[in-house]
Amino acid sequence: MEIRHYWSMAVAAVGFRLVLVLFGGDLHLASRPEVSTPLTSLRRLAEGYWLKQVSMSPYSGSMYHGSPLLLSVLGPLTSKRSGGHHSHIYCSSLVFVAVDFIAAMLIRSTGRTLQMARNRSLKSLDLTKSVNNSVNVSAGDTASLIYLWNPWTIITCVGSCTSPIENLMVVIMLHGACSRLAPLAAFGYVMATHLSLYPAILILPVALLLGYGPDTPPTKVFLQKGLSANKIDMSDNGKGTSQKGFGQFSWKPILHFILWVFIWSCYVLSLNSIILNKVGGLQEMFEKTYGFILTVKDLSPNIGVLWYFFAEVFDFFRSFFLIVFNMNIIFMVLPLAIRLKHRPCFLAFVYTAIVAMLKSYPSAGDSALYLGLLGLFANELAEMQFTFFLFFGYIGVSLLSPVMHNLWIWRGTGNANFYFATGLAYTCLQVTIPLCEHNIECS
């Protein structure tokens, strides 16, 4: 069932962003810690670009910690100053609006693919009647509209940070994997890992998507159907077709994927070494981007939980706790993969939620991504508990967090604990969402 007025709502979202870009200069979103982190801030990118223009390493001075490719693409946009002091913001913000729109379109087509796959699998289980009876909105349209109209996405888009590009790469990867386009998926994977390290764990869902195909109900359901007494003949056929159609893990797309990952990563690394030719080379790039992400050198407040902890940890234990926090993400990868291997797209969503919670410099852009992906599973959302709590929790956190920051930093009547409390509340909310979804999926 298509959503009525889909296109008008999508265009209205884009128009709203344009209005904010053109007339929202007073919001100063770029200076909010929830929006721009040391990794994604456009101001730091401008600094890195300027350093590169004077033949110094863009990483010197520990301002810029992103990818050299972004420097080449976005750098010239940040330095244009023709016609008014805000024109450089226009160019880069328009780029981000376009990027958001493309990401929304890709989410939509991913949703369609998922929908079609689900309908196919349900049809093979002769459950079409229940399909038609249950609430069945088009997942793709819902997800893309959620992505476009989510206030966090809008703030990220308008707030001069490079998160929209990272989100676009993850969405490209998922789209390519769902449509079984190995080069596209490999491109998205390589670029997403290159820009921020954490999408590397998404290789598991992507591999599962390419091997198994998009989400299907667990094989248990197929086996149960096969074992139903009344249709023994059909059961043999059904089991046969189910195993052939849905239980088989095909290696060919995986091999294509690996080949294309190799090709794209060689290409990207060679481009980077050309950019950093005279000014430090690839080793410095890895040290300053991945090393910076993993060793959490910058402890300015953000909406995550790591800065508060690492501000007070003793130096003797710092490496130990760095390992603990990084392992925290890695240890969740495998068990979730085993549990959710039949629903790789959902697995990808859970991974993005975990990464958004536990990464070293989270921001509003990360939650924009997984809230958008949440919409892909809209059909199950209808049964989710705690929606009231979550919804108003998000609103509360997004309103209180800047207030607490202001109290702490500008007025001095609060302290870091106020701001950290909102960060903790935000993390609790993020934990709840995948848990609820997981309960629904596996019940």
């Binding site: 033949s55 080449s72 390519g176 080069p183 481009l271 050309i274 950019i275 030719n277 005279k278």
Partner: protein, 350 residues
């Protein structure tokens, strides 16, 4: 280093300070010790102004004067502490002589002096053997490579008669038994405003700029005994270099050898000749050896081109083969190609 007391002595010091700054030495490399009682003296009818010429054209006590030791801080003890570097720990860096074994130091002293002494603030004396001792300590502690002592007092040459450390050159405005005279009297202020020796020194330097290579010899030869009314005596037995080869900016100015490079920072495999430091000794054999190294390195790189080894020189190869196009343009092409490749591959696999 300067020390000062009467009006003309202060004017002497400040004029030489100004000259030395004009020739390039920054304030952080100058330690100025002045009794500093003339500019704001109630008897000075030009308050906060010090002139060294009766035409009053140049106010020496302007905005750009940084006095490190003034008034009662100017003592023999402090002077010797500055020379030897033996300060108490609380003394700030600006008051220390932060020199090392490669430094060229100019020490200019003016005031009232006599046979083997120099007067400090009318109640102390700096004796010549104290000065020699301090210079010997400086040499032991490697605090200078070359030292020029210039003294403008009566019987100035006796002050450095006891020196024995190598690398020291000294010139005084008068010999034993002679007086040094002031140059002229400013009837407006009522005192003499500059001494003859300093006046002629300044006159010599006014013709120079930072890049002149007038030699010390020409400076010393410019002192005409009939104009000075005393014999400017210099002592060069401890100084090993020939005076006509040493430029005055060796001591009086600050000239650094600059090497022109094309960009701010060059890369790691540069095979430019400009990067090779030529040895200061100008040994011709060394020069030839360095050139050979450069050409050897360059041929190494060419071999690498041909052998196509996978070291980080391959980007150099790539860029050279693109005939030195700007790397930004290359990157733009690379990104465009990436997009096209992505589109084609996606279309093909659908």
């Amino acid at each position: 280093i300067f020390y000062e007391f009467n009006y003309r002595h202060m004017a002497n010091t400040l004029s030489l300070y100004r000259t030395v700054k004009r020739l390039g030495i920054p304030d952080e490399r100058i330690i100025l010790m002045l009794a500093d009682d003339m500019a704001c003296n109630p008897r000075n009818n030009y308050p906060a102004q010090v002139f060294n010429n009766e035409n009053h054209q140049l106010n020496l006590y302007g905005d750009n004067v940084e006095v490190d030791y003034r008034g009662y801080e100017v003592t023999v003890e402090n002077f010797l502490r500055v020379l030897t570097g033996r300060h108490e720990s609380a003394v700030p860096r600006s008051k220390r002589l932060l020199s090392d074994e490669g430094s060229h130091i100019l020490l200019y002293m003016t005031g009232h002096g006599g046979d083997e002494f120099l007067k400090f603030q009318d109640n102390e004396e700096l004796q010549s053997h104290d000065l020699a001792d301090a210079v010997k300590q400086m040499k032991e502690k490697h605090r200078f490579k070359e030292l020029l002592i210039m003294v403008d007092t009566c019987q100035a040459a006796t002050l450095f008669s006891q020196l024995q450390s190598p690398g020291v050159l000294a010139i005084g405005s008068s010999m034993k038994g002679e007086n040094s005279y002031s140059h002229h009297l400013d009837s407006d202020i009522g005192v003499s405003v500059v001494d003859r020796f300093t006046f002629h020194t300044l006159a010599f330097f006014e013709k120079l700029n930072m890049y002149s290579n007038a030699s010390l010899n020409s400076l010393f030869n410019s002192y005409d005994p009939s104009m000075l009314l005393s014999t400017a005596y210099y002592r060069m037995d401890l100084y090993k270099r020939a005076l006509n080869e040493v430029p005055v900016t060796n001591f009086f100015g600050s000239v650094m050898k600059t090497i022109h490079t094309d960009s701010a920072y060059t890369g790691f495999l540069a095979a430019h000749d400009a990067e090779l430091p030529l040895s200061v000794g100008n040994n011709i054999l060394d020069h030839v050896m360095l050139q050979n190294e450069a050409s050897a390195r360059r041929s190494n790189i060419e071999e690498m081109n041909e052998a196509q080894l996978m070291s980080h020189g391959w980007t150099e190869v790539l860029l050279e083969q693109l005939e030195g196009k700007n790397s930004d343009v290359v990157v733009m092409y690379g990104l465009g190609t990436m997009g096209i490749l992505l589109a084609i591959s996606t279309w093909l696999s659908m």
